[in-house]
Amino acid sequence: MTASGMTMARPKGTFSERFVRFWNRYLLFIFTGLAILYLMAPVIVIALFSFNDPAGKSNFVWQGFTLDAWLDPFGVAGLQSAVAVSLGIAFASTIISTILGTLIALAIARHVFRGRSATNLFIFLPMATPEIVLGASLLTLFVAIGAPPFFPLSAGTILIAHIMFSISFVVVTVRARLAGFPTHLEEAAMDLGANEITTFRKVTFPLILPGVMAAALLVFSLSIDDFVITNFTAGGTVTFPMFIYAKARIGIPPEVNVIGTIIFLTAVGLVALSTVLSRRRTMRDERLARMQIAEDHK
């Protein structure tokens, strides 16, 4: 608030200075409100059109309110199996990529070793590669091998692809958590006679768990939403995004909007829940710290 206090004390100034002040005080907030409305608009439309009662196949124009789609969300042929396939692949790729990525993050954040900066670059590259190149190059490999389990394409090849693009995101997320990590706790554990394995199990792992969970949530949502890479590695397998793409031309049934809305609400709910839990934990820690200080001053 010092900044605005300073500007108020000064004389009115030139036009451009007055504009900057006006921009700072009002326009910035109006702009932010509009930007968030812009970001939210498609989500609102998706939710709204899940209640639409479309005349024909296409769900592009508002016709009338109905709860039909919500009462029978799997009423469209093929939708249920597509959602099931997507969930299965997302769970499997989340578990495997979270383990592989967390190990890499531990190595990069906790160890000094030859090739560390090359590893950094190598981890970054898959994130910097356009999805279409990731998908297309995997397809050329699978076609060149031309034998099971890589060819013909299947849910298995989708899983391979999803694990591949998820690993880097896990590394980045877990590493961010490890950055402010108190190493003296591990040293203390070792001094007290714990070996490496026990130290990891009792000290390191509980401390990085929030980062690992955040990474798992992130790659789960990436996997369940992926279309481009999946399109190249799916063959005849239909995932939820593949189902939407196939229907996009002829019109998306409102049941798809219902599933989309449910996925959105679940994700928002999970994030809200984890925020509340971590806030409660911080408050408890602070209370304990205050009690400790009071104890010390007795």
Binding site: P42, H111, F113, I123, Y245
Partner: protein, 290 residues
């Protein structure tokens, strides 16, 4: 096992890296290599393929034949990157400096839309931008716009769609770099009689440059490779290089041309990343967090 680890301490990081890096080597590096080989094939799916170095002509042919799509990808990608920057910077600035106790909520609102399906979001833009849709319908009704005015199936819709879909990739890195700035520097500048715009130009903006660089890279790369927005929001005159690659691969089964196109796209991006790593170092690449 603890004893083994203690005796071979230097091996520990490599053991941690091995499984993940092996996966990336087999399913990221090897496919890249295979794609390079495929790009030098000749022949068709029916007759079988043959590898020859002389097939480097695949590249020149692909470039000349699909140059319009290439240049369109660069143009749309650059336009979308500029737009995401114009929207993201004030947004990230407000959240970082004026967010107060609502900072986390605002950040959450920026990310929340991306919890819905990417395809559904893009399809819902067709509802919003449609010829008689929520946006144009009322404007045409009151006569502000002529009845034949169109947004959907134009380059504007494609660029708008790309801008929308990649916005957080710009907003979050800029936010992270603004958040790191020591607010006392700005106050010091103003105490020394800098105007608030002067303080912004000389302190805040330069210190947020790493975020701007990272955001531009993270937006431009996927924007250039995108084909879903062009497919769903554009027309046959707005196809990008991604549309060509996917069509050549999955519909025409023309693997050599498609591989050459992907490789050219990838080469351009590798150059961009190399320049970035040179300027700002490799640590920044994965240290940003989310």
């Amino acid at each position: 096992m603890g004893g083994f680890l203690r005796r071979h301490k230097h091996a520990v990081p490599y053991l941690l890296l091995a499984p993940g890096l092996l996966w990336l080597t087999v399913f990221y590096v090897l496919p890249g290599f295979q794609m390079f080989m495929t790009s030098l094939w000749s022949g068709t799916l029916e007759t079988g393929y043959e590898f020859a170095l002389s097939n480097v002509s695949n590249y020149t042919e692909a470039l000349t034949r699909f140059w319009p799509q290439f240049s369109r990808s660069i143009l749309y990608g650059a336009a979308a990157t500029a737009l995401t920057f114009a929207i993201s910077y004030p947004l990230a600035y407000t959240i970082a400096f004026r967010g107060g106790r609502y900072k986390n909520l605002l950040l959450f609102l920026v990310v929340a839309p991306f919890f819905t399906s990417f395809l559904l979001r893009t399809v819902s833009w067709t509802i919003i931008l449609g010829d008689t849709g929520i946006l144009l319908g009322p404007l045409k009704e009151i006569g502000v716009l002529p009845a034949e005015f169109q947004l959907l199936s134009t380059p504007i819709a494609v660029v708008a769609g790309i801008t929308y879909n990649f916005l957080p990739f710009m907003t979050l890195p800029i936010y992270v770099s603004l958040e790191k700035i020591d607010k006392r520097l700005v106050e010091a500048a103003e105490d020394l009689f800098a105007t608030s715009f002067g303080a912004f130009r000389r302190i805040t903006l330069p210190l947020s440059l790493p975020g701007i660089f990272a955001g531009s890279l993270l937006t431009f790369i996927p924007a250039m490779g995108d084909y879903v927005n062009a497919e769903l929001l554009g027309n046959t005159e707005t196809t990008m290089i991604g549309n060509v690659i996917q069509n050549q691969f999955l519909t025409q089964n023309n693997y050599p041309t498609a591989s050459a196109l992907s490789f050219i796209l990838m080469a351009g991006i590798l150059i961009a990343v190399a320049v970035y790593a040179r300027l700002l170092g490799t640590d920044e690449l994965t240290a940003g967090g989310v």
